[in-house]
């Protein structure tokens, strides 16, 4: 039974060492998506080290809860998520596997942003899975709204300040700068979108609806037949009908979805453009900031 004795010894020593801990100068922050990581990085500067679990090329609904993500979270002081159940399929096992009580829900080290924004598309009736992957607390993709991301930045700064009071003023100042910058740019983006006359855009999923809601664009139909359910032949015919009747000019396919359905539709609808669109930072190698992301969407609407 020497193997068992050795194992107990290792376990005991490791527990003692883990309690001892090593204080680090920087706050370690883990975010669920890269858009939150760039906000934390801009606010925190050199006082914060931040990494995102998912990448901008991945569908944020379906991330595998890799144990290596648990290692990231086990070393962290703060976990920041969008919430509204976007990450419900993968964040809970990562948090459990990380065995880091500092960042469990309900602690200062866990910040879920959904409750601090005003969500859109909150179901008014009872939610059932017969309607697909409906989010009962509203559309969770508010990272596509520059104004709400300003609100988010301020909230993140408050939490960073609580965890690191010495730099709280700096965090608040940086968040305000980010918020004001996005508000200013939103005016310019609105003017440019107005100039295009674009009023309706089809997307694969309701990912861009916060952006559309902010800038006065309708999303009359999606390529997927129901949230999370791939298109059926019957539904594609319905999309073709809507596109023709409403003279829609643009389909945006989020960068992690199959484009073949949209391409099939364009063969039936003259003048309809299909563009693969990044919907998170890193969704395209050129998208390194939130500003880049929103700028890209605006320029696609303009026809670039």
């Amino acid at each position: 039974m020497n193997l068992f004795k050795l194992s107990f010894l290792i376990l005991g020593l490791s527990v003692v060492l883990s309690f001892a801990g090593v204080a680090e100068a920087k706050l370690n922050v883990v975010t669920t998506i890269p858009d939150l990581a760039v906000v934390v990085s801009e606010i925190g500067g050199d006082n914060v080290s931040v990494q995102s679990i998912s990448k901008g090329t991945q569908d944020p609904h379906f991330i595998e809860a890799k144990p290596s993500y648990m290692v990231k979270v086990s070393h962290s002081d703060l976990v920041v998520s969008l919430g509204l159940e976007l990450e419900i399929g993968w964040l809970p096992p990562i948090l459990q596997g990380a065995r880091n009580p500092k960042v469990m829900p309900g602690t200062k080290g866990y910040l879920e942003l959904g409750p601090y924004i005003d969500p859109i598309e909150v179901p008014k009736e009872k939610v059932t899975r017969a309607e697909g992957d409906v989010h009962p607390f509203g559309n969770p993709h508010f990272n596509l709204d520059p104004i709400r991301m300003g609100v988010v930045a301020v909230k993140i700064a408050e939490r960073l300040g609580e965890l690191d009071p010495e730099h709280a003023a700096s965090y608040a100042d940086q968040a305000q700068k980010l918020k004001l910058r996005l508000e200013e740019k939103a005016k310019s983006w609105q003017a440019r979108i107005n100039k295009t006359g674009m009023k309706e855009i089809i997307t694969y999923h309701k990912t861009l609806n916060y952006f559309f809601d902010r800038f006065g664009i309708e999303n009359p139909i999606n390529l997927e037949s129901k949230p999370g359910i791939p298109p059926t032949a019957q539904h594609i015919l319905e999309v073709i009908k809507v596109a023709k009747e409403q003279k829609i000019k643009l389909i945006m396919v989020e960068n992690f979805f199959d484009t073949s359905f949209a391409e099939r539709i364009t063969r039936e609808v003259p003048g309809l453009r299909v563009v693969i669109i990044p919907v998170e930072v890193g969704g395209d190698p050129s998208i390194k900031t939130l500003d880049d992301l929103y700028e890209k969407i605006v320029s696609v609407i303009e026809g670039e």
Partner: protein
Amino acid sequence: MSNIFRLLIFIITFIFLIGSNAIAGLNANTKYANPDMSLNFLTLYQNSNRNSQTSNGFSLQEAELQFFSDVDPYFRANALLSISQASPTSEFGVDPEEIFVETTDIPNVTFKIGKFKAALDRKNLMHTHALPFIDASLIDQQLVGDSLNEVGLSATLLFPASWFSELTIQALQGQNEILFNSPNRNVPVMLVHVRNLWDLSDDLTLDWGVTGSGGNNSYGGSTQLYASDLTFKWRSQIGGKYKSLIWSSEYLYANLQGDPAGEKVGGLSSWIQYQFAERWWIQGRFDYVGLPQQGNNPIQRKESALIGFFPSEFSGFRLQYDHLDDGQPVAENKISLQMNITIGAHPAHSY
């Protein structure tokens, strides 16, 4: 009163209590106290050329009723009740497959108390509906049975390393009929498991586990059980919704002192899964039992092929073909079709 009748009364009472709690409060905030719950059930059709030995036709393979919730700031509880038939002719029974609490407030270590699946290998930790094939591998069936799940204590430590490295030590009341089940209840079964997972790239992981376990068996001797599994998983971070690949292999070896059928037995299983569309998988598996051969028992080989279609995360269909050559005059050929349904708040599966 049959077990199934008792279970129905239990479920109805439980749902009524939860429902009345929510209704009485008339406030969503009261629901926080209710555990999340889910029901998964597997309906199976099988046809084998060995009618006398297998359960041909339709059957309810298993239903799993699961409840889980935080208990307080220190513990989380999980209960999984498995409903299944012991054989095609017997009535349904309820088995508390897992009922345990685990700690949530201790850094780096999780302590677990109750009845739980032992950390033997990746597959032993999975519930039936999440297993890669409709049935368990030959060596699992021969050595472990349905699953090695025992009452006991568990401590799992996440090492402070740059990669995922985990050590699990478990003390179990060995009641597994094949491996342990000693009449002497004073000596627990001890199990040590080490798991490492490396990200070879953003798209590819290597997962390696090794286990040693020892305890007394029902033959009056001791059992030593060793297991190791190796899994490669590939999913591209670009276009990963539509394509992925898993290759997993395991080896189990046991020395069952006093077993009249032969003391030493080992076997391996290796399978591959390729996802070729958003909701479609094909899989192949090779099983071999006889490394080493147990006494005079014949060497067993089995080849399996499977195609899976999952309309959503909550429903799935799997069609499996097996060819078993186990030393009998006629090899077995079997077709199985399984429907897998989940309702309720099912927890996410582990990686």
